[in-house]
Each structure stands twice: as structure tokens, then as C-alpha cells.
């Protein structure tokens, strides 16, 4: 009995191709959609394929990427959190009001915002996991309730400026060029060390390892792609007197959370149990998994990451109003789904949500360059979203000869 790790590079590549052809495509269709949209917009607008717009895209997508990643934790369970957007909004309202009105130190305010996020997740988790209310209803209730709280706290339609330079820097400042290269080195080091650690463990256990060529291939890919991205972002993309160059600060933060989250999902019991519960909750329960606790914790993680999404958002906008976060949650779910996360639980990864978010963000980004009338803009956005999803569905079907939808 094998483990799929045997064979040389060519065997592994062949196995991968066959996996893809039998329908296990992961984020490939979303990546294809992203590339197609990018080509389209490059043709339609001379401004699309510029260093400047590339940096724009990353910062514009950041909030959605983070929200999508937050939602993955509950989507994997087959649950949903409709309140993730307003959780981001409410905690940011609290954060900014604590600073502006109560004159609290920003770090303390941030801590309180995170604690609030955790409390919200605890609340949702309790009602979903312990009381047994469908998460759709609980979080819809909070979706309404938090809009009310935002209004009560900030006053109807009130608007507060974000004045903390550290927060504003997240989306509006960049790493110095050299730090971008350091970031790449760190990524390479982390990737290499986990790969080699894994191999060492497998060797110790006496089971075969994938050919080492794959590790090198992976590292080279990261180095080349990352190098290109960083080289582009290190160009001066400013148009005024001020030089704007370097990797936006939000990028390393997002990458770090993506890495950490993926680590948790892939290599810890909590992550494994999330997949198990999402796949077959009863089987997980019979295996001794504390199903309710896993559900509960997943909602806490989701709400906490929503706070991060909120930070990204206010850093971008520079202000907070009483409607903060109201409209974004469905896009967050769509990002995850477009990227390949199943709404029925058990299937999907953080990177899928991130790529899905990029697809959705590139629609807004590209259309924003075309100066279309509002109605057309909405209509095209919707149409392109369906188109992107069609690419996904058709490629999976073509490949897998899926039996599910006939």
C-alpha cells in the first residue's frame, strides 16, 4: 500500500495532472478567472497593467481577503456568519470612538476591539453550538443588532476620523524596498524549513518522501514569483512629488495570517477537527471530537479575523461611520465560494478564499478604471461574477466528468 509520495518528479507531476483532470482543481479555476479578467482589463484600460494599479489592487482586496479567510473557518463547518461584516464595523466603531471620544491609548483600544470580537464570536458560538440555532438566523439577528449598536454608539450617520498613524499606515504606507526582499527571504526560509522538517519526520518514521526535486521546485517558484511581485512593488509608483514605493504593509500582515491560519488548519487538531466536523459531524462526534467546542472556537476565530478585516478597512477609508461593514459580508462568502470553498462544509482552504477575493476585487478594480455609468457598473459586476463562477464550474465539470449535477 502506497501513500502517493513515491516516485520521481515526473511521477509526481503526472499524478498531479491526473488529480486535476479528475476534478480536484482547488483554486486553479479561480486563478484562471483572475488571469482572464486581468487580460481583459489590460486590453480595455491602459492603466490596468501598471505598478500603481497592481499596488491598488492588493490594498483594495485586503479587507475582502481577510474577511474571506475569516469566513472559511465557519464555512468549513457548513455554517455561515452573516454578521462578520458588521462585527468588523462594530469593533472599529468601538475602537475609533474609544480613541476619539474616550481618549484611550490606541493599543488599549485595539485590545478592547479584539476582545469585543472574541466576545462576539463566543456569543455566536454559544447559540450555534450549544443552543443549536442555525447560524444563518443567529448571525442575521446580530447583523441587524450590530447595525443598531453602531448607531447607538456613534450616533446616527456620525463620522469619526481614524487618527492613529500606525493604523493608517497598514494600507497607506509601504515597507522600505530592502524590507520587501527580507520578507521574501523569510518566506523562503519558512517554506524550506517546514518542508525539510516534514521530510525528516517521514524519514524517521520510515515512510517514503516525495522526491526532493519538488521542494526545490516550490522554493524556486516562490523566489521567482515573489521576486517579480516585490520588484514591481519596489518601483516608484507615485505620480506627484512624493515617491511611493515598496510592498504595502498590509501584504506581509495578510501573508502572516494566511500562513498561520493554514498552519492551524493543516497541522493541528483544531484544524483537522474542523474538516472532520464539516465532513461528517456525527462521525467526528463518535470519534470523540468535541464537536460543539470546535464549532464554538471556529466562530471565535472568524469574529477575531473579522476584526482584522475591519482594521484593514478603516485604514483604507480613514474614517468610520455608523454603517461600517454592512455591505461586505456577502462578497466575503462569494470570495470563498468562487475560490473553491464549499458552502456545505468540509472542503476548502484559506488560500482559496484569498484568491477568490482577488478575483472579486479585480472586478471592482478594473471596472473602476472604465468610468461606466452606475447602473451598467452594477450589472457588469454581477455578470462578471457569474462568468468567473462559470469558468470554475465548467472546468471542474469538464475535468471531473462530475456526476453530481446531471
Amino acid at each position: 500500500m502506497g501513500s502517493g509520495q513515491e516516485g520521481g518528479l515526473m511521477d509526481q507531476v503526472r499524478a498531479y495532472v491526473q488529480r486535476v483532470r479528475s476534478g480536484e482543481m482547488g483554486a486553479l479555476p479561480a486563478i484562471a478567472g483572475f488571469v482572464v479578467l486581468s487580460i481583459l482589463f489590460t486590453i480595455l484600460s491602459p492603466y490596468f497593467f501598471t505598478e500603481r494599479n497592481f499596488a491598488n489592487l492588493l490594498t483594495q482586496a485586503a479587507t475582502l481577503v481577510m474577511l474571506g479567510m475569516a469566513l472559511v473557518f465557519v464555512l468549513l463547518l457548513g455554517e455561515i456568519d452573516l454578521s462578520a461584516g458588521v462585527t468588523a464595523g462594530l469593533t472599529m466603531v468601538i475602537f475609533v470612538v474609544l480613541i476619539a471620544v474616550v481618549n484611550l491609548n490606541w493599543i488599549l483600544a485595539l485590545a478592547i476591539a479584539f476582545l469585543t470580537g472574541i466576545a462576539i464570536g463566543t456569543f455566536i458560538g454559544f447559540f450555534v453550538a450549544k443552543v443549536g440555532i442555525p447560524s444563518f438566523v443567529v448571525t442575521l439577528g446580530l447583523f441587524l443588532g450590530f447595525q443598531g449598536l453602531e448607531l447607538i454608539i456613534i450616533g446616527a450617520g456620525g463620522l469619526y476620523r481614524v487618527e492613529t498613524p500606525e493604523i493608517l499606515a497598514i494600507q497607506n504606507s509601504n515597507l522600505p524596498p530592502w524590507a520587501g526582499w527580507v520578507m521574501l527571504l523569510v518566506m523562503l526560509a519558512v517554506s524550506a524549513s517546514t518542508s525539510f522538517l516534514d521530510r525528516a519526520r517521514r524519514t524517521r518514521a520510515g515512510v517514503p518522501n516525495r522526491t526532493i526535486a519538488l521542494v526545490w521546485a516550490k522554493l524556486v517558484t516562490i523566489a521567482v514569483l515573489g521576486g517579480i511581485v516585490i520588484a514591481i512593488l519596489n518601483q516608484n509608483r507615485g505620480t506627484g512629488f512624493k515617491a511611493i514605493e515598496g510592498v504595502p504593509i498590509v501584504v506581509p500582515i495578510t501573508l502572516a495570517i494566511l500562513w498561520l491560519g493554514t498552519f492551524v488548519l493543516d497541522r493541528t487538531k483544531f484544524g483537522r477537527y474542523i474538516y472532520a466536523v464539516g465532513g461528517n459531524a456525527e462521525a467526528a462526534r463518535r470519534s470523540g471530537v468535541k464537536v460543539a467546542m470546535i464549532r464554538w472556537c471556529a466562530f471565535i476565530v472568524c469574529s477575531s479575523l473579522a476584526v482584522v478585516a475591519g482594521l484593514f478597512s478603516i485604514s483604507k477609508v480613514g474614517s468610520v461611520d455608523a454603517a461600517a461593514g454592512r455591505d461586505i459580508v456577502l462578497s466575503g462568502v462569494a470570495a470563498a465560494v468562487v475560490g473553491g470553498v464549499s458552502l456545505f462544509g468540509g472542503r476548502g482552504r484559506l488560500i482559496h478564499a484569498a484568491i477568490g477575493a482577488l478575483v472579486i476585487a479585480v472586478i471592482t478594480n478594473g471596472l473602476g478604471l472604465l468610468n461606466l455609468p452606475a447602473g451598467v457598473n452594477y450589472a457588469v459586476t454581477g455578470g462578471v461574477l457569474i462568468l468567473a463562477a462559470t469558468v470554475d464550474a465548467v472546468s471542474r465539470k469538464r475535468a471531473g466528468g462530475s456526476i453530481l449535477r446531471t
Partner: protein, 332 residues
């Protein structure tokens, strides 16, 4: 009144003579409805010895109709309605069917008995004027300047009036929108839309007509990021808006002291509750009697006036980085 349904109907009738029913549109488009109008109207009407039933439709037309039903079932002596996406039209007809006079407040309603409002087109025009002023100060020719228009939610009737008002000032001056992204009432989307418009303009912009302070705030953050300072308009005289004005990041904000509007409306309502038939000079095109209230453009030197009116708090405005500007402009 009616006669058929016993004691219940009787009490309803009694109350209806002394109650003013008010429906506010939403809580998100502007700070004023909940913070300003509600207390002002409530105070004026109760001080005059009447009862006020003030509700907010929360940006939902069907909720609007629901609230109206509830109020009419409790009974009203006068209805003061702020329209939301046309929901007030049917309510007006229903109220009038029961002999209740209707005041259209802040937004026109077809068939209303009176109309009390800041002139929304005037608001738009003032915002347009602030752009022209800003361009003049910067020494730019409006006819050749690159001006981006950041309007409000196109489904919202007011957004159109603001835009029309702006056009009435900016068009004659030769301003042509260089980019006009899809309008929103949302800072996050406004920031993204503006960033893309700016990108499509190759990073060059001379002024931004923004329909309110929320949209302006998103624009300003993007401008800051790019090291740009250009004239930006806004309205609502919100904390952030006033701060941006003081900091010179926003040229001016249109200040609509709702007290004026609320006062005019509550005066009218009280007269109606007292059974009087007030006369009004101005009339709308369709003949509705119209009490127009004039908005004010607030530049850095006028901020103190807003504070004096009690519509802003100096402590909230003059925070760390704004303190210097406050001192400079005599705010505090």
C-alpha cells in the same frame, strides 16, 4: 370621528387630535435624523403640549409603510414625513384619506399639504461653489481642471438633487467631470472607486466633488496616500468633516443646521395641531406650499459657528493633530 367600534375607537380619537406622527427615513445617510431632528422635533412638539411619535424607517420602504400603518392606527393629528425612496407617497394618500394633514419634511412628497426643507439642489450648488472657490484659490482654471465627481447612491433621490445642484454651478463654469464613478454612501467603496478614478487619470486630479463627508473622507485618505492636497467638497458638518476642513484637506462642508428646519417644521405642525391653517408664501412647481430653509457653507473659519450652535463638540474636533489648526482658526 368614527363611531362604530366602541371604547377602543374613542380613545384612539382623543389621542389623534394631539399627536404628531413623524417618520424619519434612515439612520445611515446622515447623522442628523437620529441625533438632531428627533430630539429637536420631540422637544418643540412636547413643549407645545402635544405628543410626538417619532420613528425611523431605517432605509427600508416596506418598514416605512409598516410604521405609517402603526401610527395611523394609533391616530395622528398631523403627519410629518421624511420620504424614503417614495414610500411616503402612499402614506400621504392614506393619511389624507383620514383627514390628516401631511408635512413633507426635508424631501418633497407628491401630494403633501406642506413642504419644509433645506433646498437639496442648493446644497449641491454650495458644494459645487466650494469646489470653484477651491480651484480659484489654487489658481486653476475650472474649464481645464480635472475634477472627479463622487456622488451618492444613485438609487437615492437626494443624491440626484445634490448632483443636479452641483451641475447648476459647475456646468456654467465649464467644469466637466473627468471621472464620475458609481455613486455610493459608503466610505470603503468610495475610497476604492476614487482610487481607481485617480489611477485612470494617471494620478492627476485638481478637485473632487464629494457628495458628503463620508465619501470625502475616503477620498481624502487616498489623496493623503498619494501626497496630494486638492479641493474636496462635503456636507453634514460631521466631526470628521469639520476636522478635515480645519486641516485644509476638505475645502468646506455644507452645514444644514437642522434646528432651523426642525423649528420651521415643528412650528407648522403645532399650528396644524392647534387647528390653524397656516399660510405660506412660497410654492413648489406643483403648487405645494413650501417653506425653504437655507443651508450654510462652512469653511475653516466658520467651524466655531457650528460649535456655537451645539451641533459639534470642540473637544471631539480639536484632537491631537487638529489642535494646531483649531488654534489657528479660533476654534475651541
Amino acid at each position: 370621528g368614527c363611531s362604530s367600534s366602541g371604547g377602543d375607537g374613542g380613545s384612539t380619537d382623543d389621542a389623534s387630535a394631539t399627536r404628531a406622527c413623524v417618520i424619519l427615513p434612515d439612520a445611515a445617510s446622515s447623522p442628523r435624523w437620529e441625533n438632531g431632528d428627533r430630539p429637536a422635533l420631540e422637544a418643540a412638539i412636547t413643549d407645545a403640549g402635544f405628543e410626538a411619535d417619532i420613528q425611523n424607517a431605517q432605509g427600508d420602504t416596506s418598514k416605512y409603510a409598516t410604521i405609517a400603518d402603526q401610527q395611523l392606527s394609533k391616530g395622528c393629528g398631523v403627519m410629518l414625513l421624511v420620504d424614503y425612496n417614495g414610500a411616503a407617497v402612499a402614506v400621504t394618500a392614506k393619511a389624507q384619506e383620514q383627514g390628516i394633514p401631511v408635512i413633507a419634511y426635508d424631501r418633497p412628497i407628491e401630494g403633501a399639504d406642506y413642504y419644509v426643507s433645506f433646498d437639496n439642489e442648493e446644497v449641491g450648488a454650495l458644494m459645487g461653489q466650494s469646489i470653484l472657490d477651491g480651484l480659484a484659490t489654487a489658481g486653476k482654471d475650472p474649464a481645464t481642471a480635472t475634477v472627479v465627481f463622487m456622488g451618492g447612491d444613485p438609487a437615492d433621490g437626494n443624491a440626484k438633487m445634490f448632483r443636479d445642484g452641483a451641475g447648476s454651478v459647475l456646468d456654467p463654469a465649464g467644469v466637466v467631470p473627468a471621472q464620475e464613478p458609481t455613486g455610493v454612501w459608503d466610505g470603503d467603496k468610495s475610497a476604492t472607486n476614487f482610487e481607481q478614478a485617480l489611477t485612470a487619470l494617471g494620478g492627476k486630479v485638481d478637485a473632487v466633488w464629494a457628495a458628503n463627508d463620508t465619501n470625502a473622507a475616503g477620498v481624502i485618505t487616498i489623496l493623503d496616500k498619494n501626497g496630494l492636497t486638492v479641493p474636496v467638497s462635503g456636507q453634514d458638518a460631521s466631526v470628521a468633516g469639520l476636522q478635515n476642513v480645519l486641516l485644509g484637506k476638505q475645502t468646506a462642508t455644507v452645514y444644514k443646521p437642522f434646528q432651523l428646519e426642525a423649528e420651521a417644521a415643528s412650528d407648522l405642525a403645532i399650528k396644524l395641531l392647534n387647528g390653524e391653517t397656516p399660510t405660506v408664501d412660497k410654492k413648489l412647481d406643483d403648487g405645494t406650499p413650501y417653506i425653504a430653509v437655507t443651508p450654510v457653507l462652512v469653511g475653516p473659519d466658520d467651524v466655531q459657528k457650528v460649535i456655537d450652535d451645539g451641533n459639534a463638540d470642540a473637544a471631539e474636533i480639536c484632537t491631537d493633530d487638529v489642535a494646531a489648526a483649531c488654534a489657528e482658526h479660533g476654534v475651541g
